[in-house]
């Protein structure tokens, strides 16, 4: 078994997850309530069978990670401490200060290092997914250090390649979050599901879009506009700041658009009333982010915040066994869409989904590999990838990938944001397809075989443009407002027509959209109020 990672595994973006991981561990809480909150948060687009697995496995997963060595915060009695989180009817978010992702990532990586039976290939970029004879045959990857391109024959492949947030300019995601696995799977014939559902996190620092965790509101943080009003009381009288993320993001955008924001176009997240000790101990990272990147001290003043792209609810379409439509190909984490997040993910459900469905994917991939015949990945596959890369390197004149990337990001920021106007979406489709044409002529000026980032960013840009096209196509087709997808011309949810998942598959003319019914078990859709 091998793990290919474009970064050293400890540098993965999971480490940036701050707030926590949901699990109904308290005897007064229940798995059923967790499922309900998740389904309600999803605006009823989540598949309820998948959500049931997620919430049922949550407790055992958190305990397993604790036994593995994760350092969680503790209550005074020594048990796992819990904090409140958005859209949750009970305080069920287990956490490690405001770096829960880092704590879990470290423990899991430490476990990989225990017996060294898993070979980790660090700083290898997957550049092709080989699918033939109706099943996956492996991947072709390039080593950053040497530029060497090699084939990795595999009976089964699990894609856990994370987010694609860098399609947007204003994103909380890391620079390496370029959706590579999603794009490779899509090109190889896998379905992408519900890509139009893009989560905008309500509280991000201006300019840098650095995330200020929902845990800050979970610990009691309050949002105020420039008039000093606690405006969430108007949008979500019951949950207020802890309404689901789509609700809070829309409220902030509306406040600022209607002139009640601060001159810098933000609102304020106030933590001052919580006291220095609580803020500095439970929210260590965000205290330093505020001081370093915004020059303000949250112990004494409000943090300027505005929504930014944060999470893709959509991804490679999987079923509750983490299987894709391609035999031997599995996916989990943000790259996948099973779907448990539906149209809007609840905070602290992403680390949970990654661990629960990551484990399911691993187990099923291992079982599949035991019965599958040998991979037919050959030197010809490797040479085909090498030729593509060489052709890219040999192009003589054209634009730089950086220029096209910047235009793609501003297109998505301006036209495919929290509120979506049909004219904007049509405009975005045109612009993305023009950028795709320009991309075929972009040049890589760096010809080195050693750590050639210029080449890698050109490859990543191709991935992101493919995904941007699918996001916009899905958004234009979905003539309703549900969760994080809000159409200005169709402001209401339309269960009659749209209680279904979007499936995108690749064609020469662009994405072909088909639809799949939502699995409903216990919770019939009803109006969503917080």
């Amino acid at each position: 078994m091998g793990v290919l990672s474009k970064l050293h595994p400890l540098r993965s973006h999971s480490g940036a997850a701050q707030g926590g991981i949901n699990a109904a561990l308290d005897p007064k809480d229940s798995v059923k309530d967790h499922v309900y909150d998740t389904v309600k948060g999803s605006d009823y687009l989540a598949d309820q069978d998948a959500a049931e697995i997620l919430c049922k496995e949550a407790g055992p997963t958190v305990i397993e990670m604790e036994h593995m060595g994760t350092i969680f915060n503790r209550a005074p009695d020594g048990s796992l401490d819990r904090r409140a989180f958005g859209g949750a009817s009970y305080n069920r978010t287990i956490y490690a200060a405001d770096r829960t992702g880092l704590a879990l990532l470290q423990a899991l990586y430490e476990e990989v290092g225990r017996d060294r039976k898993i070979r980790v290939y660090e700083e290898w970029d997957a550049i092709d997914l080989i699918v033939r004879d109706g099943r996956v045959q492996g991947v072709v990857a390039m080593e950053r250090k040497s530029g060497h391109i090699e084939g990795f024959a595999a009976k089964a492949v699990v894609l856990a390649t994370g987010p694609a947030g860098r399609i947007y300019g204003k994103t909380t995601n890391s620079h390496e979050s370029t959706g590579d696995g999603c794009a490779l799977a899509y090109r190889a014939g896998a379905f992408l599901k519900d890509m139009e559902f893009v989560q905008f996190h309500p509280t991000c620092l201006p300019h840098t879009s650095i995330l200020i965790t929902e845990g800050a509101r979970g610990e009691g943080g309050i949002l105020r506009n420039a008039k000093g009003e606690r405006f969430m009381e108007r949008y979500a009288p019951h949950f207020k700041e802890l309404a689901s993320r789509d609700v809070v993001s829309r409220a902030i955008v509306t406040e600022v658009r209607e002139g009640r924001g601060f001159p810098d176009g933000t609102v304020r997240l106030e933590l001052m009333h919580l006291g220095k000790e609580k803020v500095e101990s439970k929210l260590q990272e965000i205290v330093s982010y505020s001081r370093t990147f915004a020059g303000i001290d949250p112990v004494v003043e409000g943090i300027p915040v505005f929504p930014a792209q944060h999470y893709m609810m959509g991804g490679i379409s999987t079923n509750p066994k983490a299987e894709t439509n391609i035999s031997g190909l599995y996916a989990a984490g943000e790259a996948a869409c099973v779907s448990v997040h539906g149209a809007n993910r609840l905070g602290a459900n992403s680390l949970l989904e990654t661990l629960v469905y990551g484990k399911i994917a691993g187990q099923n991939a291992a079982a599949y590999a035991k019965t599958a015949t040998a991979s037919t990945l050959s030197q010809a596959d490797v040479e085909a990838s090498q030729n593509t890369v060489h052709a890219l390197l040999e192009r003589k004149d054209g634009e730089t990938p950086a220029k096209i990337r910047t235009e793609m990001q501003s297109t998505m920021d301006e036209l495919v944001g929290v509120y979506r106007h049909p004219d904007d979406l049509i405009n975005a489709i045109t612009r993305i397809s023009q950028l795709k044409v320009r991309y075929t002529k972009c040049i890589v000026t760096d010809k080195s075989t050693t750590f050639n980032l210029n080449l890698i960013e050109a490859i990543e840009l191709g991935h992101m443009l493919d995904l941007a096209e699918v996001i916009v196509a899905g958004a234009l087709a979905r003539t309703e407002s549900r969760g994080a997808h809000v159409r200005t011309d169709y402001p209401k949810r339309d269960d009659q027509k749209w209680m279904r998942h979007t499936l995108a598959s690749v064609t020469k003319e662009g994405p072909n959209l088909t639809y799949l019914p939502v699995t409903v078990t216990e919770f019939q859709p009803k109006e969503r109020a917080y």
């Binding site: 970064l7 050293h8 400890l10 540098r11 973006h13 480490g15 940036a16 055992p60 305990i63 604790e66 036994h67 593995m68 060595g69 350092i71 969680f72 915060n73 503790r74 005074p76 009695d77 020594g78 048990s79 796992l80 490690a96 200060a97 770096r99 880092l102 704590a103 423990a107 430490e110 476990e111 290092g113 250090k145 890391s174 620079h175 390496e176 840098t208 650095i210 995330l211 101990s281 260590q284 990272e285 205290v287 330093s288 982010y289 001081r291 370093t292 990147f293 730089t400 990938p401 950086a402 890589v444 000026t445 760096d446 080195s448 050693t450 750590f451 050639n452 980032l453 210029n454 960013e457």
Partner: protein, 332 residues
């Protein structure tokens, strides 16, 4: 916008030659140096090789030297560096071979990390509570105050003058990681872990504190090394040179208020061991160091009083830890 001159040490990774290249970048002073470097990449020279990802001091990718100091460029701001030096000089980290430009081969850093068995070791004959978390007291949790913050950026490793001088020495990050497991109540390899780092692996630390200054997450590795040394002496005494040197240094000063190098060497190494040090002794004398016995200083009674105070039983677990100061933003 300010026009900020940058000098970046380039190395194509093939010829073995390094040279400084100058760039001028239009950048806000309150922006991170990473932002300026990315501007160079996208507007001036896309061939500049470097590691970076999260831009918020959590992935640990972008450690390099900024005006000579090992820093994460994502949380080191342009303004203070520019104002203090008139330019910003960027070089790759030290103690690791350059792959290309600002990218270094981190193999020696990760080898040391792997050498401390960086995973929970739990005796299966004492199983963890089934289906439940292990309980931890607030005092036990307090031991984890700094070390979970470590992002393995290797800034401390780059700043450390000892890792380059002796391949045995594990260096600040690996030892801080070892401390994290040593104090973990779930870990049952306490003795084995402390036993495994005797001599140069642990005791070579010079206590120069450069790792504390370099660490962007305030893990304060040098303090964790001191913690480990204390635990090691408590658990296994002073069976080898490193710990014995520290112990004898202590009694040496207590006796006379001044360091007696000859006595220290004899007590640490024994008479046979001293033979190997003859050359060093001659060299020291040549440089004007007296190896004669030093008479006790005048205020030796005050020294003894200080020792008496320090020797009061100390509750290691209950000690007050200062609140973390968090991510460094340039020069604060």
């Amino acid at each position: 916008m300010t026009q900020v001159p940058f000098e970046i040490l380039r190395n194509d990774g093939k010829s073995g030659q390094s040279h400084f290249q100058s760039f001028v970048v239009d950048v806000e002073e309150n922006q991170a140096i990473l932002t300026a470097l990315l501007k160079i990449r996208s507007e001036q020279d896309p061939s500049l090789a470097m590691r970076y990802s999260c831009r918020q001091a959590i992935c640990g990718s972008c450690a390099m030297r900024v005006n000579g100091k090992s820093r994460l460029v994502c949380t080191t701001m342009v303004g203070p560096e520019f104002r203090a030096h008139g330019k910003i000089r960027i070089e790759p980290m030290l103690n690791q071979m350059v792959v290309r430009d600002l990218v270094v081969d981190q193999t020696p850093f990760w080898d040391r990390y792997n050498a401390v068995q960086p995973f929970l070791i739990h005796d299966p004959s004492h199983p963890m509570p089934e289906g439940k978390e292990t309980r931890m007291s607030p005092e036990q949790v307090e031991q984890f105050y700094e070390t979970p913050r470590c992002i393995a950026c290797a800034a401390c490793y780059s700043a450390c003058p000892a890792v380059g001088s002796d391949p045995e020495f594990l260096g600040p990050m690996a030892l801080a990681k070892l401390y994290r497991f040593t104090v973990d109540p779930r870990d049952t390899a306490y003795h084995q872990r402390l036993q495994s780092v005797q001599n140069q692996k642990l005791w070579l630390c010079l206590r120069c504190n450069l790792c504390v200054e370099a660490c962007p997450k305030d893990v304060r590795p040098a303090e964790r090394i001191v913690d480990l040394k204390r635990l090691a002496v408590q658990e296994i005494g002073t069976p080898e040179h490193g710990s014995r040197h520290a112990q004898k240094f202590l009694t040496n000063i207590e006796d006379g208020g001044v360091l007696n190098e000859t006595k220290l060497a004899r007590e640490t190494l024994g008479l046979f061991g001293m033979l190997g040090q003859v050359g060093k002794g001659i060299s020291m004398m040549r440089h004007g160091k007296s190896l004669k016995k030093h008479p006790p200083i005048q205020g030796v009674s005050e020294v003894k009083a200080i020792y008496a105070d320090l020797n009061q039983p100390e509750d290691l677990k209950g000690r007050q830890r200062p609140a973390g100061k968090g991510v460094k933003g340039g020069e604060q």
